[in-house]
C-alpha cells in the first residue's frame, strides 16, 4: 500500500469518514495527495467517495471595475433620462444601453426610452447584482444562467468547473486492507530502500495503482518572460552584426531631449510625459564643449530660446534613444572605428502616466543605430524588415507591413513601421525611425550619417503570452510565472 493510502485509511479507520480539510489536518497531507489516495482506494473498493460538482466564478480585471457601475449605467445616468450627442458617450456603454433597449439612436444623438428612464432613476440592474454576488460568494450556483452567460461573454467573469470530494468514507474492504497492510496482502506499495536492497520484492508482487487517478502537475522554476523575450531579440541583433550597448536610466534632460534637438519649449517635450526628479534636481553634463555645441544647435540652428538649467534637469529617461545619442557621441571621437558601426540597446524607460489596469509608468524599449558614410532610407528599411522577419513576423506577405512617414524631432526623414496583426484584425505600430538630423550628428561630433530607430518591446510579446496588459506582465503572481506560456513554441 502507498504511504498516502495507508495514512488515509488509518485516519478514516478512527473517524469512519471525513472531509478533505479534517483529513488534511489529521494527517498533514496535502490536498492533492489526499485526493490521489482517495481515488486510488476508491478503485479498490476500500473507500466510498462522495463528490460534488461546483462552478467557481472569478471576476476578471475588467469585471472588478464594473462592480460599482456598468458603462451602460453610466451612459444612461449621464444622459439623465434625456438625449445626448453620441460622441460624448462611452462606446461600450452605448452598445449595451442599446441592447438593453434603454436608448434609441437616430441622427447623432441617443434618446432615453421609458425603460432607459427607469434605469437612470436607479432601478436595480440585474447583471451588476449578479456580478457583486459572484464577487462575494465566488459561486455561480443559483443565479440566472442567462445573466451569467452574458457576463462570461462580456469577459467580466470566468467560470471554472471543479469536481470536489466532499466526503470520504472507509468501507469494510478498506478496514480489511488496512489490517492486512504490512503482511503483504495487497503487494508492495511504496518502494523503499529496504525492499530494494533486501530483495523483498522478488517474493511479493507490486500492488497496481490506478493510473487514471489525478496527480497535480509540477512546474519548473523559470526565467521571467521579459528575459526570455529580450534574449530572443538580442540574438537576432547579434546575428545581424549589431553590438549591444547600455546606458543610464537617470539622465540630465540633455541626453533625453536637448541632444536630440527637442526644443525646450515645445509640445514634443511635454508629449513625453516625463518624470522629472526633485532629488537630484540637476545633473551636470561634463563635456562643456559638447554642451555649447548643443546650445548652438538650438539657438542658431533652430532659432529657439535655450537655457542651460533646463538641459540639466534630472529625469528618468523617456526612451532608449538617449543611449543612441551617447553612442554617437562616444564613437565620434574614434576616427578609425569599424564603420559602418551597428549598435543596439534594450532597456527600461519611464513615462509619467496615471497608472491603471492597462497602463504602467515603466516599460522597455529597444533602440538601434548604424553610423557610417553611405547610408540611406533603403538601408534602414532592410534592417527593420530583416529584424521583424527573424523575430517571426510574417513581413513578406502583401499588405503585412505598412511604412508611412512620421515625425520625431530628431530624425528627418522620419518614418513609422506598422504591422497588420491577423489575430486582432488591426494595424499595430512596430517602430519609428529615420535619419538623425545633421544638426544633431554635428553637435555630437561626427560628420557621418546615422540611421536610427526605436521600438516598444512588451507589445510584441502580448499575443505570444496570451495577455493584454503590462500589468499582467509585471504583477509576478507566482502561479502565472510558473504556468505561463513559453515565448518559443
Amino acid at each position: 500500500m502507498h504511504e498516502y493510502e495507508r495514512k488515509l485509511l488509518s485516519v478514516l479507520s478512527g473517524a469512519a469518514s471525513g472531509n478533505i480539510e479534517s483529513i488534511a489536518k489529521a494527517t498533514s497531507m496535502e490536498r492533492d495527495q489526499i485526493m490521489w489516495a482517495a481515488e486510488s482506494l476508491a478503485a479498490l473498493g476500500a473507500v466510498n467517495v462522495s463528490k460534488s460538482r461546483t462552478e467557481e466564478a472569478t471576476l476578471t480585471e475588467e469585471g472588478r471595475r464594473y462592480l460599482g457601475e456598468f458603462p451602460e449605467e453610466r451612459v444612461i445616468k449621464e444622459m439623465g433620462g434625456k438625449s445626448a450627442i453620441l460622441d460624448k458617450l462611452d462606446n461600450i456603454g452605448l452598445l449595451w444601453a442599446k441592447k438593453n433597449g434603454w436608448i434609441a439612436i437616430n441622427d447623432k444623438s441617443a434618446h432615453a426610452t421609458e425603460e432607459g428612464k427607469r434605469a437612470a432613476s436607479g432601478k436595480e440592474y440585474m447583471p451588476r447584482t449578479v456580478l457583486n454576488l459572484l464577487d462575494k460568494k465566488g459561486d455561480a450556483a443559483g443565479s440566472d444562467p442567462d445573466i451569467i452567460e452574458t457576463l462570461v461573454k462580456r469577459k467580466l467573469v470566468r467560470i471554472k468547473e471543479h469536481t470536489i470530494i466532499t466526503r470520504i468514507e472507509i468501507t469494510a474492504a478498506g478496514r480489511k486492507m488496512l489490517a492486512n497492510d504490512g503482511s503483504g496482502g495487497g503487494g508492495i506499495g511504496q518502494l523503499t530502500r529496504e525492499i530494494i536492497t533486501g530483495g523483498g520484492w522478488r517474493n511479493s508482487g507490486f500492488r497496481k495503482y490506478d493510473v487514471s487517478s489525478p496527480a497535480e502537475a509540477r512546474y519548473p522554476s523559470r526565467m521571467h518572460p521579459m528575459r526570455e523575450f529580450t534574449n530572443k531579440m538580442r540574438q537576432v541583433w547579434f546575428n545581424m552584426g549589431f553590438t549591444e550597448t547600455l546606458g543610464p536610466m537617470i539622465e540630465p534632460a540633455f541626453w533625453s531631449f536637448d541632444a536630440l534637438f527637442s526644443p525646450q519649449d515645445h509640445p514634443t517635450r511635454e508629449m513625453q510625459d516625463t518624470f522629472f526628479l526633485s532629488n537630484p534636481e540637476t545633473i551636470d553634463v561634463e563635456d562643456m564643449a559638447l554642451f555649447r555645441r548643443v546650445k548652438a544647435m538650438h539657438v542658431k540652428g533652430g532659432g529657439r530660446e535655450w537655457r542651460e538649467e533646463v538641459a540639466k534637469q534630472a529625469l528618468l529617461r523617456v526612451h532608449t534613444t538617449s543611449v543612441s545619442a551617447r553612442s554617437i557621441y562616444k564613437h565620434a571621437k574614434e576616427d578609425e572605428g569599424n564603420f559602418p558601426m551597428k549598435l543596439f540597446s534594450i532597456g527600461r524607460t519611464f513615462r509619467n502616466e496615471s497608472i491603471d489596469y492597462k497602463h504602467l509608468a515603466e516599460f522597455h524599449q529597444s533602440d538601434g543605430i548604424v553610423i557610417g558614410n553611405r547610408l540611406g532610407i533603403s538601408n534602414l528599411l532592410y534592417i527593420l524588415k530583416s529584424f521583424y522577419r527573424e523575430m517571426g513576423l510574417d513581413v513578406e506577405g502583401k499588405g503585412k507591413l505598412k511604412i508611412k512617414p512620421s515625425y520625431f524631432p530628431f530624425v528627418e526623414p522620419g518614418l513609422e513601421v506598422n504591422y497588420f496583426d491577423e489575430n486582432r484584425g488591426e494595424w499595430i505600430e512596430l517602430c519609428g525611425g529615420g535619419i538623425i538630423r545633421k544638426e544633431i550628428t554635428k553637435a555630437l561630433g561626427t560628420n557621418k550619417t546615422v540611421l536610427a530607430w526605436g521600438m516598444s518591446v512588451e507589445r510584441l510579446m502580448f499575443d505570444t503570452l496570451g495577455i493584454e496588459t503590462l500589468m499582467e506582465l509585471y504583477r509576478n503572481e507566482v502561479g502565472w510565472l510558473r504556468k505561463r506560456k513559453p515565448i518559443e513554441r
Binding site: 532629488n279 540611406g376 507566482v478
Partner: protein
Amino acid sequence: MATITFDTKDLVEESGVGDLDSAINKIGMEIKSEEMGEISIDITPNRPDLLDITGLGRALGNITGKRIREGGRYVVRKEPITEVKVGRGVKDVRPFISAVVAKGIDLKGNRLRYLINFTNKIADTYGRRRKKIAVGIHDFDKIKGPLVYDARAEGKIIPLGDSEEMGFGNVMSMHAKGREYHDAIAMEGKKPNRYPMISDAEKTIALVPIINSAGTAVTESTRNILVEVTGTSEKGIGEIADLLACSFMDGGAEVYPVNISYEGRNKTITPGLKYREVTIRMSAIDKTVGLHIDGNEIVRYANMTGYTASKHGKAVTLNVPPYRTDFLNEQDAIDDIVMAYGYENINPAPIAGHSIGVPHREMERSNSLAEFAIGLGFTEAFNQYLTNENNEFVKMRRKYDEKKAIRTAYSKTESLNMLRSSVLPSLLQNLGISSHEKLPQMLFEIGSVFSIDGGKVSEKTSMALVSEHAKADFSEIKGYVVSLLERLEINAMIKEHQDGAFIEGRCAAVVRNGAVIGVFGEVHPEVLANFKLEEPVVAGEISFGKAGI
C-alpha cells in the same frame, strides 16, 4: 499629438480626396477613429497648420494630386486696415500680439466650429495651454478701432455667452474658463498682479488669454473677422498669424494686415507672410533615399507637398510657403520629397560590409546569474523600479533617508514617487499576492537599484532571493548566498548584522573591503504581516556595480 475631428463629408469636399485613409497615411498622420459620419485624425506636433480643415484639405489635395494649390500665392492687401496699440503694461506678462483681418469669410455650417477648434488646439498644444500663445476671434464689424492691448490692475468684461458684466478678478475665480486657464497668467493659486486685456474705443473685447467679450462674438453668419494672437514668443505669434492668414485665403477670404505699434518701438505689420527659399543638390536627395530620383520627378514631388519648385542644373530650388512654421532647412524639404515619393516605393537594400555583434558584459553576467538561480529552484520576477516610501521603507521596518532616495518631482500616480534602492520589497510583495499558490515559493530578481551616494547618482545591479515555506530558515538562505559569492568569485566576509527587515540575531551582512554589499536572513514577522505573508520567508540581496558601463 493633437486630435482633430471633422465631418467626413466636409473633409472630402475640402480636399477633393475620396480615399482619405490612404491620403492621410501618406502625409504621415493617422485616423484615430471614423464613425457616424465623423473622422478624427491625430496630427503630429510639428504641423499645427494641419489642425485646420483648410490646411489639412490643402495637404491632402496636394499629395494625391486631386487639387493642387500652389505654395506661392499667399498675398495680403497692401494697406493695414486697423491698428493695435500695445501699452507698456503687458511687457512683463505677455508682451507680444499679432492680428489679422479676414473679410468675406464663410463660417456657415460647421466652419465656425472648425475655426474655433483649430485655434483652441493651437493654443493648447503649440501655445502650451495658452501660456505661450493664445488666439481670439472677433466680429470685425463690431469693433470700433483702433485697439489697445495693455495690462490693467482690474477691469470689467461681459464674458462670451453671458449677459452680465463681471470684474476680471471674478472671472478668474468664478468663471469656468478663468479657472481652467488661470495658470497662463498667474502662479497656481495666486491672483494675477495685472490682467492683459484688449479694448476698442468703447469696451473691453478680451481678457487675455482667458475669454472674449460677448460684444464681439462671432456667429455662423459673421462675414468679417479679426483674429488676435497674443503670447510670450514674438516668433510664435508671428507664425500663427501667418498660418491663419494662409488658411483664410485658401478659404476664399480677403486678408488685410494690421498695424501693431508697441509703445517706444517701431511699428510692425502682421501677418508677415515671409517666403523662404532653399536650394538642394539632387545628389543629396538620392543619398538620403538610397536610390536615384529624376530631377523633374523631384519638382513634381515638391509640388505635391506644397512647395513651388524649379530645377537648374544639378539642384532644385524650393519656395517654402509661410504656413510651414516647422520648416528649418533642406532636410525638412527632403523629408517631404521622400514622403511624396512614397516609402512603399523604396526597395530595401542591405548595408555592404561584415560586422560581428557583441553582447554587453552586464547582460552576459545577468543571464549567467539567472541560470544559476533557476538551477537552484528560484523563479524569476521582473518588477517596476518606481515605488514609494511605504513599500520601500515603512513595511520593511527600514529607515527612510530622504537625502539618499531618488525622488520624482511630480508623479501622476501618487504611489510612485521614488526609485527603489532595494529589490527585496518587490519580491515580498510578489509573494504576498501569491498566497493561494503551492509552497515552497522561491523567487529571484536581478535588476537595478538606485540611490544618491556621495552626492552622485548611483545605479547598481542587485540580485535578491526569497524563499517561502514552512521550514525556511537561516541556514537555507546562507547556503544560497555562500554559493552565489563563490559563483561571482567575490571574496567577502559574513558578519552579524542589524536590519529591521530581519529577525535580530538571524541576519548577516556580506562585507567586502569593509563595505556592506549584501544582507540576508530570516524576514521579521512584522514585515511578513505587512506584506500579508503567513509562512516563514528567508531572503537575501547582494548589490554590485554595473559591469562595463
